[in-house]
């Protein structure tokens, strides 16, 4: 059946390519920003197509002598004669008093290159001076940080593991440094961030909340070699890019913590050491036959080590114990893009993504050494978990006719899981045999996920676009086959007054989950596959959006959505789930959830002073029958959130600045309200519900001040930041203790919060 389908598609491709002339290209404005929804018509005919969201177009036409008209209500019309089989970039000039904001795209989609342009996010305030991509996303409506001060992302009431974060198309399984305080993606290393907050094209799949597609710089308006050096209290980093426009590129971005290098080597090896790094390397080339090849590599690592010496009563060192925690990502991908014929392009990608976390404890005794022995009695325990993803993808786009652009493809991911392996050894103890014990899974267990998808981008008429897609997923784990069908339907309806209405419905299945073992973003959290007992997560979303240009500078959007979540995972026994000798499935309970909300955003996309104001109302609840009979609020449910980001950016000025204001519902915590005796006469804590305490109104003002100072022919910048500049007591954590550690005594509740957190960065650009 599959062979017949492929044959039919192949035949269709070849027949159509013979019949007509094709012109391709891109429509951009005078700043080379993509212009979408440009009407491209063969004059005097009904032969019409439209530019896509990234400005690209593909017109099938009949006569190369007939001019082609490029028209858009906000731009001056351009009339051109196109050469057959040519690729032409068409420049449009914005009309006086017109707004260049790009309407359209899928509901809930945001990016900072094509849609939400000119945001100058480099001047946003950043926590501790680390310009972090995740911090930018946290300022968008519907995306929350979760715990105060952390770099995690919770999209529209979903879980952290329900976001698929892609770096140049490759999934990354832990995007955190320092237990979630910073992400591994520095602002400078990412050219564009695209976020689908629910409704997504059929080529995206495998997660139940969102898709965050991060792309490095691959082309530029001008050929150039440029670079940047940055120093913050945490890291020293360098970014270099060598781009020959439309021909080839090479970029490298590297950061490393530097404070540990000030410590003596002996101290780092024997007492304390902590360091992090990330490296991103990308290169690509357009070949003579116009095919393109892209190579991407990324490596990150966090390492924390501390050792303690034990002493006897005479202050003589008798033992030494060390604790080491380490986690790392390695990503690599190669993509080959080619034009099969005038109507068909294909992108073939192979990638690898590996994540590994380990925790080791080692103790050496100095006093128990056997006579004549050269080695010390040593105990060591190391726990390891990880995931490896090997993917192969082919993505085709095919112009069936001007009104129908088809895309389809196949994605294969061989995913290997090591849920937990613990090695214990005890060696060189006098009179005791050496002991080696291995528990958990000694090797990685393999699963296979294959997805077939197809989508028709159908331009019904001038005012209506229908995106009709399907995605069929097959997931195999331990001989159990899961089959998931995912409709992806979206309609875009252009109205009369520079506005647009959108409506979409999607289903997403998730076959890989991360078990939260106490703290979101912790490296100890383990990735697990869907199994016979722990079923795949499933999400249905219905979303409507209205979008409108307001005057020359502003644009407003209103999104309303409803999400239904099924087979959500929750760890109900943290100690068992952390123990590799116990099947993790016995510690997980599954439940359901629902989320609904409205998001409003008003943004300014041009001029020196720009940014956005957003308000989101949402309600996210969970139901885990095993934990509580009724629905309860999701831990990171925040019904009301008002967010303002604004910056003043003028590269010729001495000072630039930016600020973030966040006002909204406080974070939820679970506090026991009472205590009582159970049927066995033992004291139990009374919770009226889970997540029963909402901390007071969350308010936060962050500031950034940038000093631009050219010196010695180099552009230098001093960046000063202040997080929570008003010192509001937004809880970082709530800790509860019974006085005297006895359940009979009163409970004391302590609140920790972050206030006046300074940050600084020094940047040299060349």
């Amino acid at each position: 059946m599959l062979k017949i389908c492929l044959l039919a598609v192949g035949l269709l491709i070849s027949l159509n390519s013979i019949a007509q002339r094709i012109a391709t290209g891109k429509v951009v404005d005078q700043h080379e920003n993509a212009v979408s929804n440009v009407r491209i018509q063969e004059r005097g005919t009904a032969n019409v197509t439209y530019s896509q969201g990234d400005g690209t177009y593909l017109l099938s036409y009949f006569d190369s002598e007939i001019p082609i008209i490029f028209s858009h209500e906000d731009f001056d019309t351009v009339v051109l004669k196109l050469n057959p089989q040519s690729t032409t970039t068409v420049f449009l000039s914005l009309k006086w008093n017109s707004n260049s904001y790009n309407l359209g795209f899928l509901a809930g989609f945001t990016d900072f290159t094509h849609k939400n342009t000119n945001k100058n996010l480099q001047n946003m305030p950043y926590f501790l001076g680390e310009s972090d991509v995740n911090r930018q996303l946290q300022m968008l409506p519907g995306i929350e940080q979760g715990r105060e001060g952390y770099s995690n992302l919770f999209v529209r009431g979903g879980e952290a593991d329900q976001n698929l974060m892609l770096y140049n198309g490759t999934p990354i399984y832990n995007s955190n440094h320092i237990y979630g305080i910073s992400s591994v993606f520095h602002h400078r290393s990412i050219k564009n961030t695209a976020v689908y907050k629910g409704v997504a094209p059929a080529r995206y799949g495998g997660r139940a909340s969102s898709y965050i597609d991060l792309s490095s710089e691959k082309n530029a308006k001008f050929s150039s070699f440029s670079g940047e050096f940055e120093m913050t209290p945490l890291n020293a980093g360098i970014y270099l890019s060598n781009i020959q426009k439309d021909k080839k590129y090479f970029t490298i971005s590297a950061r490393r913590s530097w404070i540990d290098l000030l410590l003596p080597t002996e101290t780092r090896e024997n007492s304390i050491n902590t360091n992090i790094y990330d490296l991103q390397l990308n290169m690509g080339k357009t070949l003579k036959n116009k095919d393109k090849v892209d190579f991407s590599f990324m490596s990150t690592r966090d390492l924390y080590f501390i050792a303690f010496a034990g002493q006897d009563s005479n202050n003589i060192v008798t033992s030494q114990a060390g604790f080491k925690q380490k986690w790392s990502n390695i990503l690599a991908s190669v993509k080959y893009s080619s034009q099969l014929n005038t109507k068909t392009t294909v992108e073939n990608t192979a990638y690898y993504s590996g994540y590994r976390a380990s925790t080791a404890i080692e103790q050496q005794l100095f006093t128990l050494r056997a006579q004549g022995a050269t080695s010390l009695p040593t105990q060591k325990e190391e726990s390891v978990s990880g995931i490896r993803d090997i993917g192969l993808q082919s993505h085709f786009t095919y112009l069936f006719e001007n009104k129908h652009q088809l895309s389809f493809g196949i994605q294969s991911a061989t995913r290997l899981f090591q849920v937990g392996r613990r090695e214990y050894s005890s060696v060189n103890y006098p009179s005791i045999s050496d002991v080696f014990v291995l528990t958990g899974t000694p090797k990685y267990d393999a699963t296979q996920e294959i997805a077939l998808y197809a989508e028709d981008d159908f331009r019904v008429n001038d005012n209506t676009i229908l995106n009709m897609g399907v995605r069929q997923v097959f997931f195999v784990n331990d001989k159990k086959v899961f089959v998931g069908f995912e409709p992806r339907i979206h309609g875009t309806f252009y109205l009369k007054n520079s506005d647009v209405f959108k409506l979409g419905y999607n289903r997403h299945n998730q076959y890989v989950s991360q078990l939260n073992l106490g703290t979101i973003g912790s490296p100890s959290n383990i990735w697990v596959p869907a199994t016979k007992l722990i079923l795949p997560q499933k999400m249905d979303i219905l979303e409507a959006a209205y979008e409108r240009k307001l005057g020359k500078f502003f644009a407003g959007t209103i999104n309303g959505f409803y999400k239904r979540l099924q087979n959500l995972n929750l760890v109900n026994n943290l100690s068992d789930a952390s123990d590799p000798s116990i099947d993790w499935q016995s510690s997980v309970t599954q439940g359901t959830g629902q989320v609904y909300g409205v998001e409003l955003m008003l943004q300014r996309s041009s001029g020196y002073f720009n940014g956005w104001i957003s308000y989101a109302y949402s309600k996210s609840t969970r139901n885990f029958q095993e934990l509580f009979a009724q629905d309860f609020d999701f831990t990171y449910d925040r019904p009301h959130m008002l967010k303002i980001h604004a910056n003043y950016t003028d590269e010729n000025a001495d000072w630039n600045f930016g600020f973030n204001i966040v006002v909204g519902s406080g974070q939820l915590f679970t506090l026991p309200i009472g205590k009582f005796r159970d049927i066995n006469d033992e004291i139990q804590l009374e919770y009226n519900t889970l997540n029963n305490y909402r901390s007071p109104l969350y308010t936060r003002l962050d500031l950034s001040l940038v000093r631009l100072k050219p010196n010695f022919g180099l552009n230098q910048e001093w960046r000063f930041y202040l997080y929570n500049a008003l010192g509001n007591r937004n809880p970082l954590n709530i800790s509860v203790d019974f006085e005297g550690n006895s359940n009979f005594n009163a409970l004391q509740i302590n609140r920790a919060y972050l206030a006046y957190v300074p940050g600084i960065a020094y940047i040299v650009k060349f």
Binding site: L627, F628, F676, I679, F744, I749, R751, Y753
Partner: protein, 285 residues
């Protein structure tokens, strides 16, 4: 330096949220009602989590009942057992409505049903199995028929006679329905399990006693006892939540209330559990 900056900006204070200060104490009723047995309930108050005192049992609660057969009556406080008793006996399928009133607490009420009787039998095969040491041991098996079309919950306890009293045998839980993932072990070593793996079918579960466990007992002396009960869903959910609470406390000790557990209750407006069971004991010689 980053850590120093962050730590320097990490401040702490102590709070007393309103939801804790405005706590209203509740009546806590606990009891297990067995078919054909006298009924017994304890009544205690709950206290605020901010309270340092913990009062004892209440002796002035008015506890009344009505049954599905329209029997009405009251529970009487018993000074010796520090609980409330009633001579009412219930049959399988009977429904009992209990109401508790006290001027200091909201009135509580609860409706329970005695589970249906379950056809069951037990046999002992001397030296009929192999124990965990590889030696011959007595095979003790129980067979019962699960009622189809509904979820059923069971409790199983196997004991041996040591010459003075019946002592629980630690069930190795090799039966899939009794395995750790699918069942709970209670404080008295009995196992709570569901019919998930044998819904509507006849079920036989067996254990092999350790070789020599009843060595020296006379030929016709009682040797083993099986306590088998069909229990209510509230009974199961209550003990399941207690089991999770025990685990959560271990974690709490390591850092925080990550794993808050709401203890199941079927006492409306109050706390605690009025559990029901139909019980059948088999003594094997």
């Amino acid at each position: 330096m980053c850590s120093l900056l962050a730590l320097n900006s990490c401040l702490q204070d102590t709070i007393r949220p309103n939801i804790l200060q405005d706590y209203n104490p509740k009546l806590v009723l606990n009891g297990t009602f067995s078919a054909d047995s006298e009924l017994f309930i304890t009544a205690r108050p709950s206290v605020s989590i901010l309270d340092s005192t913990f009062p004892g049992g209440l002796n002035n609660v008015k506890i009344t009942y009505t049954t599905s057969k329209d029997d009405r009556g009251s529970f009487i406080y018993d000074l010796f057992s520090e609980g409330y008793t009633s001579s009412l006996t219930l049959k399988p399928g009977d429904i009992l409505r209990v109401r508790g009133e006290h001027p200091d607490f909201p009135t509580v009420f609860c409706e329970v049903r005695i589970p249906d009787a379950v056809p069951s039998s037990a046999i002992l095969v001397p030296n009929g199995g192999i124990d965990t040491s590889g030696l011959e041991g007595d095979l003790i098996s129980l067979t019962f028929t699960d009622k189809p079309g509904q979820k059923n919950y069971y409790r199983l306890q196997v004991l041996y006679w040591n010459g003075f009293a019946f002592i629980p045998i630690l069930n190795p839980r090799t039966d899939p329905s009794l395995a750790e993932f699918n069942s709970l072990r209670l404080q008295d070593n009995s196992i709570l399990f569901t019919d998930d793996l044998f819904d509507g079918k006849e079920k036989t579960t067996a254990i092999v006693a350790t070789n020599g466990l009843t060595f020296g007992l006379p030929q016709n002396q009682d040797k083993y006892k099986i306590e088998f009960a069909s229990v209510s869903s509230d009974y199961y959910e209550y003990f399941a939540s207690l089991d999770r609470a025990v685990e959560a406390k271990e974690v709490t000790f390591q850092g925080g209330f990550n794993n808050a557990v709401v203890i199941h209750s079927n006492v409306n407006n109050g706390l605690g559990i009025l559990a029901t069971e139909w019980r059948s004991d088999f003594t094997l010689k």
